[in-house]
């Protein structure tokens, strides 16, 4: 495998890792109003419980996005410099959503005031939904098609990215994240929230997988081969597997199954799409491809060495974080004795 292919794979892994990790915190945040029930105090307690499941990890998850975008810039500046300006407004919307969401996580508890709390909780939900839609739309467009001219600039003005690829990607990422968040909550909590989350995932998982499977299927039909077709089938089977595991209360296995839905779909999309990184709807000859968009072999070699050493370390300590906070959470916050 040459270095450009390796880095295309690395970028694909980073985007998939981002969707897999941030996907459940987008989902949990979006489900706050859906899975909290009862009177105002009870709903607030439910929301607190749900937010505690992602509290220690959402920021680390978001770094996957920063690294994915950084890797696109680093390895394929031609991709970065075509994709971002072509979808200027959706990316700005993404940034606005991520900013308000991040501060809302931290600021929500800074005052003992129900209205303040409720406002920031709504901002967390709204910001997460908009961010999931925007990032899904952007990924849908780069894999399915953007109006790109021969020189890599956008034709047709500020809204020329609007189209079904953006809508499909947006709905796919949001729908996947909703069920992902529900399965995560079922895995990480006890009590009524766990039951509701499991019921939600059981009811919606087949439907929520459809847009993602449709997206992957379209890329496979356009440019896929045997391997990407098999990957697509694996993704479809994983949906069935997830559902059956949920049915018998095996949340851990269901979580792995639902993760496999994403891993296989993303592998199908990126695998079938390769070597195209931005598909042009104007003329396939204008597609931005790995070879034309990439940096020099020297720079790729340097990055390969640094990432080869750095990435295992990162994966190690992120995994350790999940291990430290592995316990199921209950509605009663624990007042643990301090380690002396």
């Amino acid at each position: 495998m040459d270095l450009q292919t390796l880095w295309f794979a690395a970028v694909a892994v980073l985007w998939t890792g981002f969707l897999l990790l941030e996907g459940f915190d987008f989902g949990v945040a979006a489900l706050l109003p859906v899975l909290s029930r009862g009177d105002a105090a009870q709903r607030r307690a439910d929301k607190n419980l749900m937010l505690r499941t992602i509290g220690p990890v959402w920021d680390g998850n978001e770094v996957w996005l920063v690294t994915a975008v950084g890797a696109v810039f680093a390895a394929f500046p031609g991709w970065y410099a075509t994709w971002l300006p072509a979808m200027y407004l959706p990316f700005v919307l993404l940034l606005l959503a991520l900013i308000v969401r991040a501060v809302a996580f931290e600021w929500r508890h800074q005052r003992h005031d129900a209205a303040w709390d409720a406002t920031w909780t709504r901002v967390i939900t709204g910001g997460s939904v908009v961010a999931a839609l925007a990032i899904g739309g952007a990924l849908g467009a780069t894999t399915l098609g953007l109006p790109i001219a021969a020189d890599g600039t956008r034709v047709g003005g500020a809204f020329s990215w609007v189209g079904w690829p953006v809508a499909l990607g947006a709905v796919a990422v949001l729908a996947y994240s909703l069920v992902h968040g529900a399965v995560f909550l079922a895995l990480k909590t006890e009590g009524p929230v766990r039951e509701r989350a499991r019921a939600f995932a059981l009811r919606w998982s087949p439907l929520a997988a459809l847009p993602l499977l449709a997206w992957a299927g379209l890329v496979v039909l356009r440019s896929g081969g045997l391997v990407s077709t098999v990957l697509w089938l694996v993704a479809a089977l994983a949906v069935v597997g997830t559902w059956t595991r949920l049915k018998v209360d095996r949340e851990g296995q269901a979580f792995l199954g639902w993760a496999l839905v994403l891993l296989a779909s993303a592998a199908a999309v990126f695998g079938a799409g390769y070597p195209t990184v931005v598909a042009s709807t104007v003329d396939p000859a204008f597609d931005v491809v790995v070879g034309g968009a990439s940096v020099s072999d020297y720079t790729l070699t340097v990055m390969t060495w640094v990432a080869g050493v750095g990435l295992p370390v990162v994966l190690g300590y992120q995994a350790w974080t999940y291990w430290v906070f592995r316990k199921r959470l209950t509605a009663e916050p624990e007042h643990e004795a301090a380690h002396a």
């Binding site: 407004l89 606005l96 800074q110």
Partner: protein, 518 residues
């Protein structure tokens, strides 16, 4: 305004705003880690309370820094796509390595630190804050290395096939002397920000406690006293290092970007020996160098630039001619230069900005150092100052190093115009790599789009600044709360009560655990 101007305003506003958070994150993070270490080593209650109180301020600030940092990574592509294509072989890889090696460390270990109180072993927990601080510092190094490459491109050759620089020596990019000087300058300047905060807030609490007749024997008194002393010493030491590293950086800039430095001095014509300008009068807002007149000290500028009292320092007028000879008197008549195509090139940066930015940077550093000296003197041998002017002046001066940091960056960034990548004078003219700001902007993006993002980001940033400032003021006023006295998960305690009087109602107790991270 055309797209270029709007995009420049956007970059300036979002970056200066982001950089209000950054030095506090770097400086205060380091001091909180020191406090935490002292608590683990000595077990003294005041160090725990200091860690928790200042840690809370650190975290409120940190999240806004992270949130606004996101914009930075995207806007090179959004508004500056031609720049991104041109520098892609060097610049993007530094950003990606920053994310991989620094941001993961920072965010993962801060999450562990916040939620790890009482949950992971004490020493391991201490290691998490240090890991986060190391992450912030590495991040600063990488981003400054990226910026310094734009100021002084090294480790690259021009690739004739693509017309863009190709990286040939990654180590040279990382050990760029511009980067080493700028990094050390920025780190010590960050410590001045943190030191000034400890001093201003600590003095205010000490004075308030004294006027209220509180004991000077209890733990909370020690908290504020130690904060003032620590902040004062850190500020003064950092000021000394800021001056030394600034001198190093200044001398490099006289070689690498003489126009930036001469316009910082409004030195119109070459002088030998050259005089240092203290203060300009008469048309001080003018951008015509010859209009500006100032009080000067003879010989000093030669010394600052070359460490002797006789060497010539080139003037703005002569340099403008030299640059026009070397890089052209007009922009090429090429569509990639947009409205600027065929227009004359002004190689002199905006004189009023560089001249006053430079003086504001130095002046604010001096204000902060003077306040630190006052704080140490007025708290000597257990004293507590009650002077309204002294204490409130110190509180106001918390802002001084923030302004100084911002002014320094505005000076250095606007001082390199009209280039976005400045030619490196150490290599022969034919091999030099440079890029004009005018050709860096995204060609396909419309003015309406950039207006939309500029306005929406500016409005959001303003609103967030109001909330953030309000929250910090509340926490500062509340001071030490009962959540700070035990090492419980979350950075506990909140300003729900006024000072030490009552405890919080029981139904809010669940929030103690939840404080902070979500």
């Amino acid at each position: 305004m055309d797209v270029l101007d709007i995009a420049r305003w956007q970059f300036g506003i979002t970056t200066v705003y982001h950089f209000l958070m950054v030095p506090l994150t770097i400086g205060l993070g380091l001091l909180v880690a020191v406090m935490h270490t002292l608590w683990v080593r000595t077990g003294r209650a005041e160090w725990l309370r200091m860690t928790r109180f200042w840690g809370r301020i650190f975290l409120i600030n940190f999240v806004l820094g992270v949130a606004t940092g996101l914009v930075q990574e995207f806007q090179f592509g959004l508004a500056w796509s031609e720049y991104s294509r041109f520098v892609g072989d060097v610049f993007g890889s530094i950003l990606a390595l920053e994310a991989l090696l620094a941001f993961f460390l920072e965010s993962t270990f801060l999450g562990l630190w916040i939620f790890g109180w009482g949950r992971i072993p004490k020493k391991l927990h201490l290691a998490t804050i240090w890991a986060a601080v190391v992450g912030s510092t590495i991040s600063a190094y990488f981003i400054i290395a990226a910026n310094s490459w734009m100021q002084h491109p090294v480790g690259v050759v021009m690739d004739e096939a693509t017309g863009r620089p190709r990286q040939v020596d990654f180590l040279a990019v990382l050990t760029n002397n511009t980067a080493l000087a700028a990094f050390s300058h920025a780190i010590v300047a960050s410590l001045m920000v943190a030191g000034g905060l400890l001093v201003g807030i600590g003095l205010w609490h000490l004075r308030r406690r004294k006027l209220a007749g509180r004991s000077t024997e209890d733990v909370d008194h020690a908290v504020w006293r130690r904060s003032v002393r620590l902040g004062g010493y850190v500020s003064l030491a950092a000021f000394l290092l800021v001056a030394l590293t600034g001198d190093w950086q200044g001398k490099l800039m006289y070689q690498q970007q003489p126009l930036k430095m001469s316009s910082a001095e409004a030195l119109c014509n070459t002088e030998a020996p050259a005089s240092f300008s203290i203060f300009a009068f008469n048309k001080l807002g003018s951008n015509e160098c010859d209009d500006v007149h100032s009080f000067t000290i003879p010989y000093i500028l030669s010394f600052l630039a070359h460490s002797d009292f006789s060497s010539p320092v080139p003037g703005v007028n002569q340099l403008q001619e030299q640059y026009a000879d070397a890089y052209g008197a007009t922009y090429p008549d090429d569509p990639s230069f947009g409205d600027k195509a065929g227009e004359p090139i002004d190689y002199t940066p905006v004189l009023a900005v560089t001249y006053w930015g430079f003086r504001l940077m130095i002046g604010m550093g001096m204000v902060s150092a003077a306040v630190a000296a006052y704080a140490l003197w007025s708290t000597r041998k257990g004293r507590v100052p009650t002077s309204r002017i002294g204490v409130y002046g110190s509180l106001l001066a918390v802002g001084a190093p923030f302004v100084g940091n911002a002014a320094g960056w505005i000076f250095t960034e606007m001082g390199r115009q009209p280039f976005v990548v400045v030619p490196n004078p150490d290599v022969p003219r034919a091999e030099q790599i440079y890029f004009f700001t005018a050709q860096a902007v995204s060609p396909g993006v419309t003015a309406a789009e950039v207006w939309t993002s500029l306005i929406s980001l500016a409005v959001l940033y303003a609103a967030l600044a109001v909330v953030e400032f309000g929250l910090i003021v509340r926490f500062v006023r509340a001071g030490i709360t009962e959540g700070d006295t035990t090492p419980t998960p979350g950075i506990g305690g909140g300003p729900s009560r006024d000072d030490d009087e009552s405890t919080r109602p029981d139904d809010d107790a669940s929030d103690d655990v939840l404080q902070f991270a979500y």
